[in-house]
């Protein structure tokens, strides 16, 4: 799928602003960003529910802008599942085949196969209103996949599920994608979800793409301060403090798990940089603890440490203590800041 300088304006507001993007066959690609960043609009442009005001969209080399949704080889899993309430689960799943006039015996067989794949065998006779949220989500998935599209669009499909179910579905979705081998384009605002499931992802902000890359690239080498803040915890250091640490006042970032906490005045090994400050806040998260440290000078850094051999009482007592933070220089990344 290729976006070439695609824009979608609503009056003065540009929901999608000059976006160019290539998505490869068979990829699990995520569109990540906060609400209103344009990621859902892009998805709708691919599906055909909306027209771009500028630019072109190609699917397998074919320009699709004038094609209605039913002529595109693309299927969508909607955020609210959009199951047809007056039809049974089986009829919902079979809908696309019914429209294509697939003969009945094959239709029934394929519906059974599909229900088995999403682990809903035997529920074909039920109505959507009789299913749980997780079950409805699988029906929506089955209904889309049964048409064997070359691209599947998913619009925040797991948003309504509770945490455990969501994590389980993430694993299942990824497994299905790898088994079926088609391209998944996945919209989410949850950066953890995007990092877990994607082969590659694009970070959206206010209609534009801030960065495209693999999860590791985006996390380890964030391109802009927005990406730093949105993917993972933001640790932006600039100005005098930056000069003291790094030798130049340009803004840089370092990931919180890379920072070590030591006593003030502790020796600093070669290749590491350091700064001193006072622990302002401690958040105990079970497996690890998050410290917010107010640096001498200005700024704060967030540090996470695994609770290897400390208890909750130990870590909570750390509040207010003065500490020296140190980390390898190689973890410092310069970031472009928005004007």
């Amino acid at each position: 799928m290729r976006f070439s300088h695609v824009s979608r304006a609503f009056g003065d507001v540009r929901a999608v602003d000059d976006v160019t993007l290539d998505i490869l066959d068979g990829e699990f690609f995520s569109l990540l960003g906060p609400s209103g960043s344009g990621k859902t609009t892009c998805l709708r442009l691919i599906a055909g529910f909306d027209h771009p005001t500028a630019g072109s969209i190609e699917l397998h080399g074919v320009e699709v802008s004038g094609l209605p949704p039913y002529e595109r080889d693309v299927n969508t899993v909607f955020q609210d599942y959009a199951l047809f309430p007056h039809m049974s689960v089986a009829d919902n799943v079979a809908y696309g085949l019914m429209i294509k006039k697939v003969p009945r015996p094959q239709r029934l067989q394929r519906v059974d196969d599909m229900l088995e794949m999403v682990q809903l065998s035997g529920l074909g006779g039920r109505r959507p209103s009789q299913l749980s949220g997780g079950q409805r989500q699988r029906v929506a998935l089955a209904r889309a996949l049964i048409n064997r599209p070359r691209v599947l669009l998913l619009d925040e499909p797991l948003g309504a599920l509770d945490l455990k179910l969501r994590q389980q579905m993430q694993i299942e979705l990824k497994a299905i994608q790898q088994r079926v081998g088609i391209t998944f384009i996945y919209v989410t605002h949850d950066q953890e979800e995007a990092l877990t499931m994607s082969d590659r992802l694009a970070v959206f902000n206010m209609g534009r793409i801030e960065q495209v890359g693999t999860p590791a690239e985006v996390y380890e080498h964030p391109a802009t301060d927005f990406v730093v803040g949105f993917v993972g915890v933001s640790n932006l250091v600039s100005g005098d403090v930056a000069r003291a640490i790094n030798g130049s006042p340009e803004t840089f970032t370092v990931r919180p798990e890379k920072i070590l906490i030591r006593e003030p005045g502790a020796p600093v090994p070669d290749g590491l940089c350091w700064v001193e400050g006072q622990i302002h806040d401690v958040v105990y998260l079970g497996a690890h603890t998050r410290y917010r440290v107010d640096l001498d000078g200005t700024g704060t850094l967030t540090v996470t440490q695994q609770n290897v051999d400390s208890t909750s009482m130990d870590v909570m007592a750390a509040r207010g203590r003065r500490v020296r933070l140190m980390w390898h220089r190689i973890h410092n990344r310069r970031v472009a800041t928005h004007a």
Binding site: P68, Y70, E71
Partner: protein, 308 residues
Amino acid sequence: MNAAAASPGRRLSTFFYQRPTLALILLLAPPLLWLGVVYLGSLFSLVVQSFFSLDGFTGQVVRRFTLATYKDLFAPANLDIVIRTASMAAAVTVAAAVAAFPVAYYMARYASDRIKALLYLGILLPLWSSYLVRVYSWKLILAKEGIINWGLAQLRLDGALEWMLALPVIGGPSLSVSSLGMFVVFLYVWLPYMILPIEAALERVPTSFIEASGDLGARPRETFRLVILPLAFPGIIAGSIFTFSLTLGDFIVPYVLGNSALFIGQAVLAHQGTAGNIPLAAAFTVVPMAIMAVYLIGAKKAGAFDAL
């Protein structure tokens, strides 16, 4: 890709997909043509006609702009009709508001959900029954030999009734041919239209307002006067729009229960009929339109449209 061949239905659907404005125009055209052209057009032609006049000699409508017809409207006989109708409308409106308020108040404040549903049904039932039949029923009830007279006679109150019927404006030969009778029937047919908006407005008064008023020292009567009544007022106005407008235009009730003193509705019917004086009929029709327009603007300012 789709195995289904590109049938004419699909091609047409794709055609409209690429031209959404055209699709919209086609969707809107039939209803718009009907309502816009037929209905609005006829309303417009009606107002235009009121500026024409009827030639007394030939009996033909003279299609030239003139205010003579409107001047006719101000002739004493015609002005009488307007005043008579407007007064009746006002009287009915006030009475309806007074009669409707207790019921609406009970429904909104005290009735449990089940009772409220029953009351709703009880009020809507007469509304859903045929309007003409309900008017007709009163002819039976108010007839000289009917139940009202029989009841009053039983209570030895028939003297009082005779006295009332002898009064100049509201009286008449019998109850079923009198202004008093018309008043009762108008009240009867429009009452549900007044109860419902008032009930809706009262329901929207949060109980916390009433509690706060009591908490601040007001006695129940003061709370009613200073808090509840003003908040219910938009509902009263909304209901009054119905009662006023419906009375202004009605000709059935005066026909069934009235005498030779005409109401606006009857005047319209009479003039456009055999007399063929469409301009005067149109001018008469403009009167309720104008009155209602002024009333609606005032009602909008008073916030009545939130209560509808």
